[in-house]
């Protein structure tokens, strides 16, 4: 059992939990995730390790309430425990001295990108962060991300991902035209990452996306998380979650993420199906 040490509600439907998990806290690296199962009847779902405290033996998770499991999780109170937590899964984010790096995030990833930004800064990169929130009152995480980054651009837009004005792609395009960008890292809904990839492709800027297919075990055992990258089948839980965004087969990822869309019990917030992009 893994105890919830503290919780903070960051925005409507976005929660941050600190959970006791010493063996994971000891090994966590930027970009890695855990697989969580709330109770015995629960589903195993992946969540990024948003931060960790090695002395306290705790990890932080930030999650968006979208369906059954995240609803169940949101109902767990401080002092209560969840049944299963395993990790750290996945390869750590690739950190090196790249030069100028732009990160593009939306939703929970505005917080979960912070350890990556921090590690990039420690390597001596200049980091410009672009973040998005659907509405003014759902903005969160900007102080922390802003403090870590050399520059922070906040965009506010509605839920449609069709490249409206003020969508993350606008400032990204401007940056790409204005200066030398050495790498772009994007984490968020699939439609956001796909649009980011299409914006950077003509500029030939290496772009990394942290993919979020459906997972079960997170250890390479089931193949549920397979994604097609550069024509090759990869398991996102062990070969990723970071991949070259220009090589990812986005329609396939979008379709696979919606495998259970018709099964699930209501609540859908950002489901790629909603954008009807494929």
């Amino acid at each position: 059992m893994y105890k919830i040490l503290s919780r903070e509600d960051l925005a409507p439907n976005i929660h941050q939990f600190e959970i006791e998990a010493p063996s994971i806290a000891r090994k966590a690296q930027p970009g890695q995730f855990i697989i969580i199962m709330v109770d015995e009847k629960g589903e195993r779902i992946p969540l990024t390790i948003a931060d960790w405290n090695r002395e306290n033996g705790s990890i932080f998770l930030v999650f968006n309430v979208v369906g059954q499991t995240t609803n169940k999780l949101a109902a767990v109170q401080v002092g209560e425990s969840i049944m299963s937590l395993s990790g750290p899964m996945g390869l750590p984010a690739e950190i090196d001295k790249f030069g100028t790096v732009v990160t593009v995030t939306s939703g929970y990833s505005v917080v979960t990108i912070v350890p990556v930004v921090q590690a990039l800064k420690e390597m001596g990169n200049r980091v410009i962060s672009i973040m998005r929130a659907p509405t003014m009152d759902s903005v969160f995480g900007q102080e922390h991300l802003g403090a870590m980054s050399d520059e922070l651009i906040v965009t506010i837009g509605d839920n449609s991902c069709n490249g409206e004005p003020n969508f993350v792609t606008e400032p990204l395009e401007k940056l790409l035209k204005a200066e030398q960008i050495d790498r772009v890292i994007t984490v968020g809904p699939v439609c956001v990452m796909k649009l980011v990839a299409s914006v950077t492709r003509p500029h030939e800027v290496k772009t990394i996306a942290s993919l979020n297919p459906i997972m079960v075990d997170g250890t390479g055992m089931c193949g549920c998380c397979r994604v097609s990258v550069g024509g090759k089948t990869m398991f996102a839980c062990v070969d990723g979650p970071e991949f070259d965004a220009h090589e990812v087969d986005w329609p396939s990822l979008m379709a696979r993420r919606c495998t259970y869309a018709s099964n699930e019990r209501g609540w859908s917030q950002y489901r790629c199906l909603d954008c009807a992009q494929w």
Binding site: Q68, M83, T219, G220, M221, C222, G223, R226, T233, Y260
Partner: protein
């Protein structure tokens, strides 16, 4: 009872009994040579996940045990990978001394309730039984199951295995993986007085016995009973512990463990790299079975994990994994379930009993057929599978005749769900995070066949991680041999 609809059986040979399971039980007419075990009716069982084989009654067990001629040469024992004292346990059973039958059985096999149900007896103990040469061999597996189930119900009658506590040796052993190899090694080592910790990646212990083999063939309560037995002996079980991600093997060795046993199995699914393989509705057998068995998708929505399954399901492969997937699909409500196998019926590696069960339940077998690609419905879902007919050529390395495609025989079958059950290889995580382990080109870890010792100091391995996907009993045998060698090493150091 529509006995005529029972595929593959001469209906004259069926008698109908009403069972106390609440449903109707069909049982082939008493074979003069072998007492058949009652099973759930094929039509009823195709709709539930309850155990198919219902077990012997005491009378049936006595009758079957009576047939054993107690061969002095004990050929059956040679056929068993862990040398179960077969004639002796049958003799005790026959004499009505059940506690003695349990002791005889358990002195060689710590998981008899499991082996009695899932061992491929026809190619092991029963194959070499003297009676097999003339009539039907003794139903050794069924008797084994009977004795084990008796023990479960009469625990107190058998003296507790913990009654004489071993002298603690002060040595610590880490067991990685809680499948049959790990559980057996753990049980043996605690009994010898070592302090044992089992690390398991998943949220439950049992390995393939929990996530792969379905409830209707191996009830999960039985597996958990065996896991509990190992922990009551004194082994510590740490769940959610992915070794290589939390501590590595080298860290365990550096931080107080005197020896490590690797029993992590062969859990990595193989795909065929065919066009369209990543369409929705195409699963590895591991995913399909894990969702169904471990996560209990068959009880969705009481349990949260869903399984997207359509009406027409094709399962590719001919082993136990394929049979289990097909039979799960049927039970989950599929209208038509196909087994697509590239060789012919005789080459199928699955347990004979399960092939017969699958046929009886109405699974459609397409032999000498190989898939060549998958077609989508335009919205990302699989809608059809392209296949080609095969014919058998010269024998290959495995001794089985090699299937070769018949030119011009291509055809398409409409399916909305596909399960790929083509085998598995070991997960590279352990090998890639451990210094100095030797692996083969199939990713298996090299270990001595007799002792399980790897080339790395203080590290042993056994089960599917060494042999590739094999059997429960061979994994147990490997766990046992390694435990003996680990004990020898710990005592001499």
């Amino acid at each position: 009872m529509p006995a005529t609809s029972v595929a593959g059986h001469n209906t004259d040979a069926l008698i109908v009994l009403s069972g106390d399971c609440g449903g109707i039980v069909v049982m082939p007419k008493l074979n003069l040579n072998r007492v058949e075990m009652p099973r759930q009716d094929p039509i009823a069982r195709g709709k539930n996940f309850n155990e198919v084989a219902l077990g012997y009654t005491p009378e049936m067990a006595a009758e079957e045990a009576e047939r054993c001629i107690q061969c002095p040469k004990r050929p059956c024992v040679e056929g068993c990978p862990v040398s179960v004292n077969i004639p002796e346990f049958i003799k005790a059973l026959r004499e009505g001394d059940m506690p003695e039958a349990v002791r005889m059985l358990k002195s060689k096999n710590s998981l008899p309730g499991i082996c009695g149900r899932v061992c491929p007896q026809e190619s092991q103990c029963e194959e070499v039984c003297t009676l097999a040469k003339r009539d039907a061999p003794i139903a050794i597996g069924r008797l084994e199951r009977y004795v084990a189930d008796w023990e479960q119900e009469n625990k107190q009658a058998v003296e507790s295995p913990t009654s004489d506590q071993p002298e603690p040796t002060g040595k610590k052993v880490a067991i990685i993986g809680s499948g049959p190899a790990g559980l057996t090694a753990a049980a043996d080592l605690v009994k010898l007085g070592h302090s044992v910790t089992i690390f398991e990646a998943l949220h439950v212990a049992g390995g393939v016995l929990m996530y792969g083999i379905p409830e209707f063939r191996l009830p999960k309560a039985i597996v958990q009973g065996e896991v509990q037995y190992v922990t009551t002996l004194g082994a510590e079980l740490v769940l959610d512990a992915v070794i290589g991600k939390i501590d590595t093997v080298d860290e365990l060795l550096a931080n107080g463990y005197d020896a490590v046993f690797l029993g992590t199995g062969a859990g990595l699914p193989m795909f065929m790299n065919l066009p369209g393989e990543n369409l929705c509705g195409i699963y590895s057998a591991n995913e399909f079975l894990t969702r169904t068995n471990l996560m209990k998708a068959y009880l969705y929505p009481e349990y949260d994990t869903p399984l997207g399954m359509g009406n027409r399901v094709a399962v590719i492969g001919g082993g136990n994994v394929a049979m289990d997937s097909a039979r799960c699909a049927l039970r989950l409500g599929a209208k038509a379930v196909y087994i697509i196998y590239r060789r012919s019926e005789v080459e199928m590696p699955a347990r004979r009993e399960e092939v017969e069960n699958a046929m009886e339940e109405g699974i459609i077998f397409k032999f000498l057929t190989n898939p060549t690609g998958f077609l989508g419905d335009g919205r990302g879902w699989v809608s059809a599978m392209e296949c080609i007919e095969m014919e058998l050529g010269e024998p290959d390395d495995s001794g089985r005749r090699r299937p070769i495609p018949k030119p011009g025989s291509e055809f398409v079958i409409k399916v909305d769900t596909v399960v790929v059950a083509l085998g598995t290889t070991p997960n590279p995580l352990i090998a890639s995070t451990t210094e100095g382990l030797e692996t083969t080109r199939w990713g298996t870890v090299v270990a001595d066949e007799e002792t399980g010792k790897t080339v790395k100091d203080r590290v042993w391995a056994g089960g599917d991680i060494v042999t590739g996907a094999a059997t429960v009993i061979s994994a147990m045998g490997a766990g046992r041999k390694a435990a003996a060698d680990i004990d020898k090493f710990l005592r001499s150091n």
